[in-house]
């Protein structure tokens, strides 16, 4: 039987694979793919041997620096990045949780100054599994299950 791709292949660009299904739209939000002009295709609830179900995003003609793509590690810690050139995978990378999280996560503390004024949020990662991060301003810890993308 002929194998069929659920999400069509791209000639050049980046494939982000092994995204948890619940994190797909957060990944789109963090990487601002909704504002991206080139072709972006995604699939959700796809079969996965390792995860049961997974999501995948394919971004044409867009390549990511480590610092940029590591932002998604907070919501998709096992995501894998494949760089595609002329339909071939030329590089495989695994996302890594950054030491600092700046600007894209909301502090869970409603009384934090960052939720009252136009302040860029800053967190220091203090634990990786499960993720725990300390707000630079209010010093409260945001736990993995409390992470909300701005």
């Amino acid at each position: 039987m002929q194998k069929q791709l659920n999400v069509s292949a791209i000639k050049d660009g980046t494939v982000i694979d092994h995204i948890p299904t619940k994190a797909l739209f957060k990944v789109i939000q963090i990487l601002r793919l909704d504002e991206f002009q080139n072709m972006v295709t995604f699939g959700n609830n796809l079969d996965s041997k390792a995860m049961g179900t997974k999501a995948i995003v394919k971004i044409a003609n867009r390549f990511f620096e480590d610092e940029e793509v590591n932002k998604i590690a907070l919501v998709a810690p096992n995501a894998k990045l494949n760089t595609i050139k002329n339909y071939e995978v030329v590089e495989k990378r695994v996302v890594q949780i950054p030491e600092q999280v700046i600007g894209y996560v909301r502090c869970f503390n409603p009384k934090c100054i960052t939720n009252a004024e136009n302040v860029t949020t800053k967190f220091q990662i203090i634990n990786v599994k499960p993720i725990e991060m300390k707000c630079f301003y209010c010093e409260k810890i945001t736990y993995e299950n409390e992470i909300k993308i701005k």
Partner: protein, 250 residues
């Protein structure tokens, strides 16, 4: 000191605490000095305060400085919707230092970030009150003649009381502290501070009452219920009779 602003007690090392204790003793012996002569100090109290504001203003006067500021955010442009950012930027052009109390947590760190002059945190919500902690440590040092090996009982509102959090962080830097937390479950010490102690291998115990164990204490640190931190008044009423220091004690 290596830093300009005083924001969080965690910004200090043990050596710096001890240096401040030593300097404090000198100031106590000779309080009237002219170290701030010609300086303008802004005291910005966005939240009511009696002791902290008067302590700072007394200190500024004794050191020869001049004071500008407000003791109520309703009498400032904040009531017209001015942002903290704009208030701090404006005041930092007038004053040589800003002393600020604000109800939002992290506000002092943010103020220090946008200010051109040093900022002293006189309390930011339930987060930090470093000058109170330095005073508490000085009192412990004076009465016990040491900061190591202290059995410290913290009693009352350990959930919202910022001074207990700051004092816990500071005392954990000294040798063999033992912490005893006495509070109803609703006002118990937050998990993050208990985790902090566990990770440092520091002993702590939790109690609902302290009548049988009070004689073990070197220091008993009593706090009132922080009624200004309660969002639902019903929660406060429920706790009024179960805490050794009720909500009406100042």
């Amino acid at each position: 000191m290596s830093q300009k602003s005083l924001i969080s007690i965690t910004d200090f090392s043990k050596e710096e605490y001890l240096k401040i204790m030593e300097l404090s003793a000198k100031f106590e012996a000779n309080p009237n000095q002219s170290l701030l002569k010609g300086k303008v100090i802004a005291t910005l109290f966005f939240e009511p305060s009696t002791r902290t504001r008067l302590s700072f203003e007394t200190a500024i006067n004794r050191l020869g400085g001049k004071i500008i500021g407000f003791s109520d955010s309703n009498s400032s442009s904040v009531s017209k919707g001015e942002s903290l950012h704009d208030t701090i930027r404006m005041v930092s052009n007038y004053a040589d230092m800003i002393i600020m109390r604000h109800p939002l947590e992290g506000s002092a760190r943010y103020a220090a970030e946008v200010s051109d002059v040093p900022v002293i945190n006189a309390g930011d919500g339930a987060n930090q009150h470093p000058s109170q902690t330095l005073l508490d440590m000085y009192s412990i040092m004076k009465t016990q003649n040491r900061l190591d090996d202290i059995n410290l009982f913290m009693v009352g509102d350990l959930k919202y009381g910022r001074t207990v959090h700051s004092l816990l962080m500071a005392m954990s830097q000294f040798k063999n502290p033992i912490f005893n937390f006495v509070a109803p479950p609703e006002l118990a010490m937050p998990d993050e501070y208990k985790l902090f102690l566990s990770q440092k291998g520091i002993c702590y115990f939790e109690h609902l009452e302290f009548n049988d164990i009070i004689n073990q204490a070197d220091i008993i640190y009593m706090t009132r219920v922080q009624k200004e931190r309660f969002i639902a008044p019903a929660d406060l009423t429920k706790l009024a009779n179960c805490c050794p220091c009720g909500p009406t004690i100042g």
